[in-house]
Symmetry: C2
Subunit: 556 residues, 2 copies
């Protein structure tokens, strides 16, 4: 097959890489307590692919031939595994469905265009043959942006952008790089780093997500405090639309009417296929430090993040876990690393002597970048704020560990799923004044949902992405499912959390986008009139609804 | 009449305030040299309003009655002066037409709604009666966003937002203020300052422009380096549309599909009437300093602005004038103030001794804000960069003067127009690497245009609004007109400059918007496909083209 890399069909990452708990003595007791599962029990592994009944391709020979003519025989395929790999993203809903071989509608053909002109020909062919185009980047989406609608009767083409993976040009004086949309995070950073540059965009999904995917879903990375989110990073965009090419030129800022750039951002394929972008890049910083801190409790942690944001400081990362996520972090420490074992015991004893309640302690990471002088200055300004809130500096050790493990969390879902628990994440942003009630409302909603489904459940949270107007709260939740209809149970929990976001003045998603999963809250979030406006964009570009139909806005 | 304040009908500012040169000894020789005009000659003042033949209102009694029913008799008017005041903005094209009583189509009625529900009723009435709505803020627009199309046969309603002028609420913990759209800059800042807050948005037009106008045109203020431009400042928006209200909730950042917020920004009334916004506000800084610097020449000045931007520094203002604008600044110094008279002579002697060519010196202002410690730190970081580029620190004196005079420039146009010269401004932004060729291309284009019209002309420039990807170049140009068809002459010059922007990879406007004046370059800027997308938004919201028709996109 092609040399485009994909994750394993049934889970996160590549075959052979996964989460292990054997070297983490605190993990088993933590999980029993949280969701009631014994991690030592025999895991139920995913079924073998040979057991999956894959629906046959519904694409006619004429369409396949026409696609083959555009991309060449090795880059247009109806192979079963390829089509299943391109059916879903990696939400817990997706993982459950894959393991249960629930495949009501899968792509009929997967194509790998080599360049923009091939993309244009494929899109035009799709419109001419009334087929559906679903662009595919790294396949890491967790809100249902990639799956064909179950009711789709037209041929479905999954357009994999993996061959468009080059950094084409760096305008070094401006700090702007022209990059093809299909490049995966590590590959892109490697190409940039080789010339001394970085984009500074590191979402949790970094390892298996692409530039085009980030733009199409309004992604945000861990260092967004410094580098901005993808909407701020992206200056120019090229988008293949039916019969034409939309070009947003790389302009720092512009007053040219409603923003076309900001219409493409978050468009999830509904306004065309993003082929290339001009993005802001920065010199790899002379120095980079991530420092760990502890707070007495969530209230003082939130207040500190607020005050740092309102100060003159400019850190690259501001992140703090609530007490439950802090306990989770400690539970995943290796016996031989970080603040674990003897060190952890000594630390806890020290905190106790200071009168801290160990069940309320919150772990925080703050990042600093730039010249050595700037790192020192920022640490000092932030330090003054932290002092007022009684934070304890843990030094660079935990930060280094955080940096090493920061892309590993998604593996945990597969591990838990093997053992009968469903876990996923839901994140939002809200003004600073609304964060505390938002947090309380989400916890209440989740716990009510666990009661409703009658299962033991867990929820934890961290704050990340500080902005002037507010911050992102990121919730991770898990529950033991009944083994009968885990998706129905998941829907109860997830819906309760999302509804609590909207009811608390927060958004349906800060950086995971809408897809199918969140589309029922879209009108509540952007108002009926806002939805009409967005629908107007879709209709203008794609009157035949050939471009990833049904995503973002529910069919109305 | 109403208590809503307006500028004089024929020019900038209120009656009795204008530019005077008598106390500025350097000004007369400068102007003779630049555009060949003797400023001591007898000015030709604007005609008296009684001499203006004002077209009668074309609004029927039924429409007037219905509007009166909504706003009350004193707030719906067909008064001639009111209608002329609401016909144009304040571009040189507008001023020339007003002085020549060129009024092919003026509003038929001016209404002053008291609140959002009145705006909704007016908009719905306009659609029901197939009338045209043109929202009016401070009337400072210079790209033709406010004028009715000359061919308009339907009744034209100018909707003056002046009565919606209150700061409704400040969420102090978040730093977000809810403000009515019709508030003028100074009134808004006064209300905010009274509670210790500032929005930090100070465009040149500040004195006579409104929050709603800033949002509708994508305005940018002098301190955008710190506070962001209006697109970054604005988090929530309420927009009255035909039959409905669009609400963008105040969310710090969101992944909810194409941005509705960024569609309303810059929409110039074509997507409805902006009634209210939630904007970022900041505590009035403890300290604020604007320091003047001199550079040897434009190249070193540009390089320094670039290097400051790429450093770890975070100044609030970065601005530098080219040598010609620097000479202009010196020429407008009062004999008794600033770096003028003896001081100026001593300074020039000093520069000469250092081997500087006085014809190439560039004047710069850099602003610092925040705590005293932050101001000191930023000055030091910026100082290190400036040192490398050989800049000379002039201290706070010139900066204080700049701060006092920063809103005065527009008065100069009326002064020159009284004396036979036409002056206006054109601004853009481009990546850092393109600024030098852009600058050269614009100068070449303007000078070629002056040759073409056979008149003596002048052009000068400053850089302001530094961003990671580039900066704004702001050009001011003036020429002696022939007294026969100054608008035709202006069109030759202005078009040459705008075309040079587009040809040089710059945008048609960084912060003055599109209107009618720039719409011929809109497709070249955002691409044909981009224009189709924007037209799709307009059509979805306003199928009858009742909302400020013809603006942004040329009728196609």
């Amino acid at each position: 097959m092609t040399d485009v890399k994909h994750m394993k069909w049934w889970g996160w990452g590549v075959e052979g890489v996964g989460f292990h708990h054997e070297d983490k003595p605190g993990f088993a007791p933590f999980v029993v307590d949280a969701v009631g599962i014994d991690v030592w029990r025999e895991p139920v592994p995913p079924i073998d692919f040979s057991e999956v009944a894959v629906p046959p391709s519904q694409a006619g020979a004429e369409l396949i031939d026409a696609l083959t003519l555009i991309v060449g025989p090795e880059y247009a395929t109806v192979d079963d595994l390829e089509r299943v790999v391109h059916t879903y993203g990696k939400s817990i809903r997706d993982l459950i469905r894959l393991r249960a071989a629930i495949l009501p509608r899968i792509p009929d053909v997967v194509v790998y265009p080599a360049d923009e002109s091939a993309v244009q020909r494929i899109v035009d062919l799709a419109v001419a043959t009334n087929s559906v185009i679903i662009p595919f980047g790294g396949g890491s989406n967790i809100v249902g942006s990639l799956e064909p609608l179950p009711t789709e009767t037209r041929p479905v083409i999954s357009l994999d952008m993996g061959r468009l993976s080059r950094v084409l040009e760096i305008d070094e004086y401006s700090g702007l790089a022209t990059i093809q949309a299909g490049v995966l995070g590590p590959d892109m950073e490697e190409q940039l780093n080789a010339r001394g540059w970085t984009m500074g965009h590191f979402p949790d999904s970094f390892t298996y997500s692409t530039l085009g995917g980030w733009i199409a879903t309004r992604s945000s990375g861990m260092q967004s405090d410094k580098y901005g989110d993808i909407a701020e990073i992206t200056k120019g965009i090229r988008v293949v639309q039916p019969g034409k090419l939309l070009v947003v030129r790389p302009i720092p800022s512009s007053a040219t009417g409603p923003s076309v750039r900001e219409a493409i951002l978050g468009s999830e394929g509904r306004l065309g296929v993003i082929t290339e972008a001009v993005v802001q890049v920065h010199r790899v910083p002379e120095k980079r430090e991530v420092i760990g801190y502890l707070f007495r409790d969530w209230d003082s942690a939130l207040a500190a993040m607020h005050d740092i944001n309102k100060s003159d400081a400019a850190p690259s990362i501001t992140r703090v876990s609530d007490a439950r996520e802090t306990a989770f972090s400690f539970s995943t420490s290796k016996a031989s690393h970080g603040i674990s074992g003897q060190v952890q015991k000594a630390l806890f004893a020290f905190l106790k002597r200071r009168g801290w309640n160990l069940d309320e302690v919150c772990l925080s990471f703050i990042g600093y970048e730039g010249s050595s002088a700037n790192v020192a200055h920022q640490k000092s300004v932030v330090g003054d704020v932290l002092k007022k809130h009684g934070a304890i500096n843990l030094g660079k050790g935990p930060g280094t560990l955080y940096d090493q493990k920061k892309f590993d969390t998604p593996y945990l879902r597969d591990f838990l799923l093997d053992r009968g628990a469903a876990a996923d994440v839901s994140e939002t942003s809200a003004p600073w004044s609304k964060l505390k009630p938002l947090y309380d409302n989400v916890f209440a909603a989740a716990n009510k949902a666990y009661d409703e489904i009658g299962m033991k459940g867990w929820i934890m949270c961290h704050l990340s992405h500080s902005m002037h107007a507010g911050a992102c709260l990121y919730f991770t939740f898990a529950f033991t499912h009944d083994g009968v209809d885990p998706i129905a149970q998941y829907d109860v929990v997830k819906s309760a959390i999302q509804q609590a976001f909207i009811d608390s003045g927060a958004t349906l998603s800060h950086h995971h986008s809408v897809g199918l999963e969140h589309s029922q809250w879209e009108v509540a979030d952007i108002s009926e009139a806002g939805a009409d406006l967005v629908q107007g964009m879709f209709t203008a570009v794609d009157p035949g609804e050939n471009l990833n139909p049904g995503k973002i806005l529910p069919t109305r």
